[in-house]
Amino acid sequence: MKFSNNEEHSLKKAVVRPTALPLLVVLWALLGLFVLYPLGKLIYVVFVTDGTLDLSSITKVFTNWYSRKALFDSLVLATSVAAIGTSVGFVFAFGTTRMTLPKVIKWFIRAVIVLPFVSPPFTSSIALTLVLGPNGLLLRLLGMPDFNIYGFLGTCLAEVLTYFPIAFMTLSAVLDGIDPNLEDAAMSMGSTRWNTFKTVTLPLSLPGVGNAFLLLFGCSLADFATPLVMAGHTFPVLTTQAYLQITGMYDLKGGAAISFVLLVPALMVYLLQHYWLERRSYVTITGKSGARSSLEGANAIAKVFILGFISVVSMFIIFLYSIIFVGSLIKVWGVDNSLTLENYAYVFTVGREAIKDTVLIALVSTVLGTILGVTIGYLVSRKDLAFRKTLEFTSFLNYVLPGTVVGIAYIIAFNSRPLVLTGTMTIIVALCAFRYDVPAIRATVASLHQIDPSIEEASLSLGASRLATFLKVTLPLIIPAVTSGMRYLFVVSMTAVSAVIFLVSVQWSLLTVRILECITELLFAQAAAFSVVLLLIVFAALGLIDLLFKIAYPSYLRQLRRS
């Protein structure tokens, strides 16, 4: 048996990963309380009545035609959003990785990716309503005032616009990862650009396409805010039905049953993605691939089409976001178009408590979630940890499941003894921290994985103890991961709605819930003003996190700028 150098290397295990048994015990206790217990309670409520097994609430979901339609609609919507969103994302990704784009288009693309990520989930819905809804701007311009955006069309459009950037980012990473020599080789053997695309680029990116499709499918399936605003009564979906069942009909058991039906496909999508697709990736990170050739990936005609498409989509999205801003400054959209600051006055009087609460909750969640994420990530990347995979899966559960499911599980679990938390800030913070810490976990694991064991060994051989090595070498190296996790935590804690909507109370209200209230009362201008304020807070906080990072680790800056 012969071992190559590489295999010998893989046999090395990282030396510096101090075990922390007490830490592990605390962590499992917390995960048990805030992840496993609520889920278990949800399943218990759905399947058990008065101590005996009872399937009636589940069968009711399938026998009631309206909830059956909701299930069907959810799947149709998710499939459509995934298919269209992935296609749009692919065109964008191909354009940015295989073509030289004008600067202005690159700027457009960056805006289009950042905006949906940082804005609250209703934003595209509000904007679409202002543009294509009753009294909509474009409808009047096009002279078709009777057009009805609500239902499948509006929901699908709003979700595609919100979620395609995810497909774009996934796919551009995949397309970037394909060794450029492969495409150059095909061309040098006489293949045309189109043929190269068909026979090399596309097949190699297929696992990535599948991954993007599943990601978007999961996002759409779990989306609550968009269908709540856009779907209307003719197009019910599971998330909104579960919500209405609980808040409208006070039927906790029925809502729980619907959310359980939602849980199954969501979990399947996750498992499919992780245990099937991840193994089929062709992208290899060897670090030594040739430079991307300066050849354009498409001929002149195709390029015009691709560029045109990217520009039109980008400009439409930027137009939608500017509509939000304009809408927030107008008295009554489409009726009285005079400029006013009244809406902002409304936000800062009626919504003042909500702003304060939201920022406080987001801050606390960010801090706790970051600590949680880094700790879990650190433990999970230890190869020799017992129940490592179980720990990872458990900590991912709340994130993987749709917010509606988690929110309902929390309200069931913490509404009654032994632990009554409803109406407190604790429950909202716990939900955010244990749900949105997952990107921090992933980033920590990924960056620990990138640290060559020899770097820690070098520190040891220079005389540093294991603890000193962790503090002086390992921790500083994962700081960028920590900040990226922090940014995500803050943004999502500020903008989330699907899960926390079940947990808000008189004492603790949130901006997103306020926006929703405005929408249901048809106060679109106020909703727009709320959204703008929320967006500004998010941008300010992101800037602040970056600034803190720059002050704390100035040495990184020079490095990042270099590389």
């Binding site: 048996m1 012969k2 071992f3 190559s4 150098n5 295999e7 010998e8 046999l11 090395k12 030396v15 060559d452 020899s454 770097i455 060994e457 070098a458 520190s459 040891l460 051989s461 220079l462 005389g463 540093a464 103890s465 294991r466 000193a468 090595t469 002086k472 070498v473 500083p476 190296l477 680790y553 040495s555 990184y556 020079r558 490095q559 270099r562 590389s563």
Partner: protein
């Protein structure tokens, strides 16, 4: 000189895919103070694993590591006072050159003044004065290599372990750094164990070379002895180039062995250490530079030139003795050298003094 480091029956067994694999198999080796010993062998032969066990990154399955008479087999790596230069340098990417080099001094709580002084001294010694503030990714490969050396030197380790330290440099720089490492090692009188798979590197840098194969040491000897007196066929083949023939002992004559190959008889040096009976099957090792070619008829062996390559300082010929059996000959090149052309019949002269005989 006394033994500074002593490896006693060191063994390392890895588990891989539920199979055990003996990476290091009962190795014993001593290294004297101030000496450079190279561990040389093909990849996967266990040389890096030995180094990692000495450094404490890997626990031996069996055997002991003795440093200055003290058993350090179970000692934590940070307590060993051993320097390590990694193949990929393992420089801290979040620190600049000065902080990388002074890391070990800071850990040892030297005073600010001493840290500054020692760090500057060592940086000057390796020729890196003036780049203290640079970050690692702003340095060339050669500069990174020097930082790695400086970082290991500055803590004044009892032993310096180097794991293929030059393999990431280009060919010219590699040759230059060989001499540089040798110079610094002598200057500081530092004891050194040097792992490499490049025989030229080992020959040029080491006082002694331990040739390794499949987890075992085949031979430990100074470079010259290793080349001229290989103890096994593996060593003869691995160090330099060698023509290896199978033959049969037919007689002893005038203190020489007469051996038959391809029905012809050639004589070989007979060393007292080797004992061969008449009729024994033996291997003959002939260095290509010990082979000479002639157009006259005096030689016993004949062949046909299969290829001739000019490589600057010499001609390299491949000669076919019998179909499928080749001998390589390196003939130093000068204006007067007779050149043989493709397909030509030539006589082959082998200096009996440079023919080695060993059991097959």
């Amino acid at each position: 000189m006394s033994d500074l480091i002593l490896l006693e029956h060191l063994t390392k067994v890895f588990m891989k895919d539920n199979e055990t694999f003996k990476a290091v198999d009962d190795i014993s080796l001593n290294v004297k103070k101030g000496e450079i010993v190279a561990l040389l062998g093909p990849s996967g032969c266990g040389k890096t694993t030995i180094l990692r066990m000495i450094a404490g990154f890997e626990r031996p399955t069996a055997g002991r590591v003795i440093l200055e008479g003290q058993d350090i087999t179970a000692l934590e790596p940070n307590k060993r006072k051993i320097g390590f230069v990694f193949q990929n340098y393992a420089l801290f990417p979040h620190m600049n050159v000065f902080d990388n080099v002074s890391y070990g001094l800071k850990i040892r709580r030297f005073s600010q003044e001493e840290i500054r002084k020692k760090t500057h001294e060592v940086l000057e010694m390796v020729g890196l004065k003036g780049v203290e503030k640079r970050f690692i990714n702003e340095l060339s490969g050669g500069e990174q290599q020097r930082v790695a050396l400086a970082r290991a030197f500055v803590i004044n380790p009892k032993v310096l372990l180097m794991d293929e330290p030059l393999s990431n440099l280009d060919a010219k720089l590699r040759i230059y750094m060989r001499a540089e490492i040798r110079r610094l090692q002598k200057l500081l009188g530092i004891t050194c164990i040097y792992v490499t798979h490049d025989q030229k590197e080992a020959l040029s840098i080491a006082d002694r070379i331990a040739v390794m194969n499949k987890g075992k040491i085949e031979q430990v000897a100074p470079p010259f002895e290793l080349y001229t007196e290989p103890k096994s066929l593996f060593v003869a083949d691995f160090i330099g180039q060698a023509n290896i023939f199978e033959g049969k002992v037919i007689a002893f004559k005038d203190g020489r062995l007469e051996v038959s190959i391809y029905d012809r008889v050639i004589s070989a040096r007979f060393t007292s250490s080797s004992e061969f009976k008449i009729g024994a099957r033996v291997a003959l090792v002939v260095r290509p530079e010990a082979v000479n070619l002639t157009r006259s008829d005096e030689s016993a062996l004949k062949g046909r030139i299969l290829s001739s390559v000019f490589v600057g300082d010499r001609m390299e010929y491949q000669i076919e003795l019998e179909p499928g059996h080749l001998i390589h000959a390196f003939i130093p090149y000068s204006q007067e050298t007779v050149r043989f052309s493709h397909g030509e019949e030539v006589g082959i002269l082998i200096d009996p003094e440079s023919v080695l005989v060993m059991p097959f």
